[in-house]
């Protein structure tokens, strides 16, 4: 089976180039360097049709940058993002519409000056997927899919609550019949009781419209609930990818373990936190070798110099840690 999405050796750098003064000072013998952030560093992954792949990681791990490259909002500095539509047809929407993104902030992800009907129908009309005359029925249909009714059509985004806005954002994405949805922290900004509603909606839409998800979140509870497979990122690199059962029961990478232990959980009840030490290093100047070595209990000399490769330690379970080296 060919994967729906293939990301091969993708990197993305953000460069803050030198201004004139710094260039001039360099001429005079001072040493000013360009600031380069390797937000995503040589990442490869595949997503198959019907899967829910969760990406977890802390701030600066590059999960959002990766999501934006998959959705086509950013272009990779190196490597390739390939999307292979599962049901190709000549009159359907073009391939670059097949990947859509659901955003984090329900307050800035909708244009405040557009009515809901226009937010939802702008893209399908622009791309000729529907006629302007069908606009209204089409918008009602899309809103119904996400649990809103026709009353919403003529209103502006500020007249809705956070959860409702998030639904409008989902309807906007559904309007171009995508196959892959990239959800970047899509429920993080919502209240607890609303989070469950939106998560359930995602699950229902997946069933009804054959969707595939790339679900990006820092919330491990949410990732555990929704994903089939989990990718753990740390400072721009994938450190572990595992099927959900293995992720929960046999996490391999020390960082994954630390992450899972640090999560506040209701089941555990009162407890003493024993957190992993150290700060998350600045992505401007990441540690050498394995990025996690300064915070890792098991780090050796080798970890400081050699970048560990992502190797298969069990079927479908990959980890990038020198502890797995057999010798």
């Amino acid at each position: 089976m060919t994967p729906l999405l293939t990301v091969s050796n993708v990197s993305r750098d953000f460069i803050k180039s030198l201004d004139l003064v710094a260039k001039f000072l360099n001429r005079l013998g001072q040493d000013h360097r360009e600031e380069i952030v390797h937000a995503v560093d040589d990442v490869s992954l595949e997503v198959f049709k019907g899967e829910v792949v969760g990406i977890v990681g802390e701030s600066g791990c590059g999960k959002s940058t990766l999501g934006k490259m998959v959705a086509g909002i950013l272009t990779p500095s190196e490597g390739q993002v390939r999307f292979e539509s599962a049901n190709k047809s000549d009159d359907g929407p073009p391939d670059d519409l097949k990947t859509q993104m659901i955003f984090q902030d329900p307050f800035s992800s909708l244009n405040p000056r557009k009515k809901v009907i226009d937010i939802v129908t702008e893209a399908p009309i622009h791309h000729g997927l529907i006629k302007a005359s069908e606009k209204r029925e089409f918008a009602i249909e899309m809103l119904n899919r996400v649990g809103l009714d026709a009353e919403a059509l003529g209103r502006y985004p500020h007249q809705f609550s956070g959860g409702q806005r998030q639904r409008i954002g989902i309807a906007r994405a559904l309007a171009v019949s995508p196959e892959l949805l990239v959800c970047d922290e899509s429920i993080a900004a919502l209240d607890v009781s609303i989070q469950a509603q939106v998560l359930n909606l995602f699950a229902k839409l997946k069933q009804d419209y054959d969707l595939t998800y790339l679900f990006i979140s820092h919330d491990i509870g949410v990732i555990e609930h929704i994903s089939d497979r989990v990718i753990v990122m740390y400072l721009g690199r994938i450190v572990e990818t595992a099927p959900i059962e293995a992720f929960v029961e046999q996490p391999n990478h020390p960082y994954t373990k630390a992450l899972l232990e640090g999560v506040p959980r209701l089941e555990i009840g009162q407890r003493d936190y024993e957190p992993v030490s150290g700060e998350i290093p600045s992505p401007l100047d990441p540690p050498s070798g394995c990025h996690f070595h300064p915070r890792c209990k098991h780090s050796t000399e080798r970890c400081k110099t050699v970048r560990p490769a992502l190797i298969e330690i069990a079927p479908d379970h990959f980890s990038a840690c020198h502890l797995n080296d057999s010798d």
């Binding site: 859509q100 984090q104 405040p112 702008e122 791309h127 906007r172």
Partner: protein, 303 residues
Amino acid sequence: MAEVTANAQSQAYSSSGWRKFWADYSESPLAVVALLIFGSILFIAIFAPFVSPTNPYDLTTVDIMNSRLPPGSEDFAGNIYLLGTDGAGRDMLSSIFFGLRVSLGVGALSGLIALIVGAILGLSAAYYGGRYETFVMRIVDIQLSFPSILMALVILAIFGKGVEKTIIALILVQWAYYARAARASALVEKNKEYVEAAKCLALGDRRIILNHITPNCMAPLIVVGTLQTAHAISLEATLSFLGLGLPVTEPSLGLLIGNGFEFMYSGDYWISIFPGIALLITIVSINLVGDQLRDMFNPRLQR
């Protein structure tokens, strides 16, 4: 805390955008008075031929015998000149009404064109970035480093007098302010998620700039626009006073003040003073309206 009050406000105002706008605007009574005054001035300027007692440029009604009558005088035909007459016997009140028309017209037209030019350059600079942005913004910097009156004088000295030339000079002096304001707000807007969503939906650059970013940058541009229009009016008045701006055939307020200036020492104060007061009221009222708009759109002062 802010969350609670904001919540209450959004509920209260969800009915209508204009009602919210007016509720915020009318919080300052001074601004409401200023808006009323500005509205009346605008009305007078637009309907000057109908509201003026006489047409000061209709040579058949102007009589040199009536020159330099003090305010309130009556001529032989029984016409009353509330604000007196000027050196050529024209009714001052009517002259001021017609002068307002010219002044406001020149100010608004130049402001509007400068806004369009500046907004296009500023928005595109912010959206595309890179060398193009650097190029545009350096020109803006250079432009803003010259005093505007000096710039305008140089341009008029090169091109000569005339209505179109004055308007061109005012546009060249002003566009940079709009470009800077447009770029600043576009830089904020372009990083918002709705713009990323539009990119993801492959709507195309032109559509994203025009339909998504531009409408959301209008608020600060309108503020700059009101304040700049006031600035343009006073600049035009200065130029005309110096005899460089508009020709005598299109007398603006500045020209009226200039005309009366020679009579100041002979005690005929009204020929200069009344157009001056009209100019002052116009500029102050526009500025007060602009200040209130600025406060309303300033997120830091949002209550």
